[in-house]
Symmetry: C2
Subunit: 424 residues, 2 copies
């Protein structure tokens, strides 16, 4: 258990989303309501690096209005990082440093807002009480556009990217449908999702009963077959005059190689991808001779707060709030989750998961979500996705036509330790 009136540490980790700041808003606003139990909320500047380097942001210096504006501001307002703590046996110095910093700033609550890798970091922190005798409660706040965390029904961040991809695919498909008589017949949109095809699946939501659109989806879960793919596109062009293709960056061929492998790796050792759309477009040109256009949404998809899903914003906020409430109940080493109670009407409640069951576990799309031909989504998948994309939650706009996203003051907490810490 954290000491009474201990301060809280909050940090954002990994790739950011359109709604991770809504979780930050939930954490900070809820902590502010419990000033009898939680002191200040210090945010790590650039995630866990802020803790290691004693670079803390005093969120109490931000006005209530600025904190409220986090709810509709995309990205990570305090800075994120790609930095995974090594095991205690490998780099004990890191843990000793964290305890030094936590002690110097009376930090008893640790809220870490991230995905699977970050859950692992959070798990390691949660074990500090036991492993190194430092009293701390570590709660993970789920976040990832990839929707690949286990146990929770879905991850905040995903619903908004799903809405963005579905809306964009519908819009671009309308465009191609207009042009296909004499010009572009195939539109290719590359989307994120390294291993799990959740985001690609959202492309299938562009087509509905009352608005039919031919969409071919290339999932990372389905081994790419050029012949079958070109046939699917050709069939659609014959029937509809055009075809849209939504391709996941993680699509692989029979040999297991990413179609778009550029040979780069990130700090977590993950391959860095990009550019599968032009690869697919060239196949269409060479194999079918159709005129094509291609787009790569990249960061636009995960930053698109302007078209965020209302469900997603609400759940992101609720996860932040729940994390603080779990901490106040004395919990440690857990993550609040979304528990789906029913589809029609959509009802959900908040549950919790042990971090040991969350860390480093990737949730794939269920087999029953991908249609038999491997290029589409099933009704089951639609029923799952629909509520997550539901509702609009527009940010306020200025007279200049631009969304009024907040840039925080980010006032640094005075350092109390003498020696700096060198990151490895």
């Amino acid at each position: 258990m954290a000491k009474k009136m201990a301060n809280a540490f909050y940090a954002q980790s990994g790739g950011v989303t359109a709604v991770i700041n809504a979780s930050a808003c939930g954490v900070i606003e809820t902590a502010r309501k419990h000033k009898d139990k939680i002191g200040k909320v210090y945010a790590g500047r650039n995630g866990i690096i802020g803790a290691l380097t004693e670079d803390l942001i005093d969120t109490s210096k931000e006005s209530a209005r600025a904190i409220a504006a986090l709810r509709y501001t995309p990205s990570g307002a305090f800075g994120s990082c790609r930095y995974k703590l090594k095991g205690l046996d490998v780099n004990r110095a890191e843990y000793e440093r964290l305890i030094e910093v936590f002690e110097a700033h009376n930090i008893g609550y640790f809220f870490y807002n991230g995905g699977g890798d970050s859950a692992d970091t959070c798990l390691k922190i949660s074990q500090l009480s036991k492993s190194m005798g430092y009293p701390i409660q570590a709660i993970h706040v789920p976040k990832t556009v990839d929707n690949d965390l286990p146990i929770t029904d879905n991850c905040p961040g995903f619903g908004s990217v799903a809405k963005y991809i579905a809306v964009s695919t519908r819009e671009a498909s309308f465009d191609v449908a207009s042009m296909c008589k004499t010009s572009t017949k195939v539109f290719v949109l590359e989307v994120m999702g390294r291993h799990a095809g959740w985001i690609a699946a959202a492309g299938g939501m562009a087509s509905t009963e009352d608005c039919e659109i031919p969409v071919v989806i290339l999932f990372p879960e389905v081994t790419f077959s050029k012949a079958k793919f070109l046939k699917a596109v050709k069939d659609n062009v014959k029937k509809f005059g055009y075809c849209s293709v939504v391709v996941s960056e993680g699509v692989r061929d029979r040999s297991g190689r990413f179609l778009a492998d550029q040979g780069l790796k990130d700090a977590f050792g993950h391959a860095q991808l990009g550019g599968v759309a032009p690869v697919i477009a060239n196949m269409i040109r060479d194999g079918l001779g159709y005129k094509y256009h291609w787009a790569v949404a990249d960061y636009l998809q995960r930053a698109a707060r302007h078209i965020a899903s209302k469900s997603d914003v609400e759940q992101a906020y609720a996860m932040g709030k729940a994390a603080v409430e779990l901490a106040l109940k004395g919990e440690n080493s857990v993550m609040p989750t979304v528990v789906r109670k029913s589809n029609k009407p959509y009802k959900w409640t908040i549950g919790k998961a042990r971090l040991s069951r969350v860390a480093n576990v990737e949730k794939m799309m269920p087999k029953g979500f991908i249609s038999k031909d491997g290029f589409g989504i099933t009704k089951k998948c639609r029923d799952y996705l629909e509520p997550l994309m539901r509702g609009e939650d527009y940010p306020p706009y200025g007279k200049d036509g631009m969304p009024k996203y907040v840039q925080l003051k980010k006032v640094a907490v005075k350092k109390r330790l003498e020696k700096p810490f060198k990151l490895k």
Copy 2:
């Protein structure tokens, strides 16, 4: 002058936009209010090709509700085409065929919704009275995301793409700012604009006095210098920790070659481009060693009705309405224009331009709109762009979280001619 109670022909031409259907809505709703003077509005299925092949859509079969929904539906609802009429001396058969079709369907009004190439087609039609003795009034309705038509202050379609690019650049910049400590430092967004840098300029609107963002713009008007560009990016990364780059597809090097030339050409003989973003990203990697991400917005930018500018939607509708009103006044061979009366407050009115002064003329960015270093926009440019991006005009959404764009019935008008027409 058209005969009394003649029918009208309306068609969409060239690349479509988020608001071209709002112009269609303006044309059809206004014509419906003047049933004493204008008979039916027939739309060309796939632009002028619909006229040549006698493939007409009877818009009177569409409900008032469906026509009203065009106001918030992106793309060209009747189908567009890239097809430019040749000169009367080169292909007289095309003109004779048009007159046959017009005569068979009692068409006296010709409304053509397009850009510079389409204005040329419209001009040729407007001369049919004189050149071939067929009574017709041809009015051009301006449309182009490229904003490159002369005389009019701006073109419907541009304001919305400008808003999309400015908002997306701001959002992606917030994302990169979060990631730059340990990961991505440079974000590159490729935008449309073959010759004129209007769309690229909109990327500069991402940064405002109350929300500073480092954006380097690569205009087609400015010859690309790798050394200067890399220095500009490096300076921003040193100062802000990150940098966003907005690059026009039309950027050329000193030899005049497109940085992204793929060697393809469209029906108008224009080079087909794509993929300058990865070229720029590779330069950054090799020259500066920064981690980067890149996006290509492609059709997403011009189809993004979900983030359309209110000014733009209003002007698109007003241009369609004005076109019909000009026709009712007996005008021929003209195009309604937007005339800017003042910036603060933004006031505009409707003017008109002779088609002979519009056809095949491309309006470039004024020199005074690009900052001295060639990488940014001036206050003059901001003052011009701001009102065009102003206001939001959201489409209605269904319970499924998707915008309710309309797909028309597109009932064909019964053919009256026996022989088909073969397009060349």
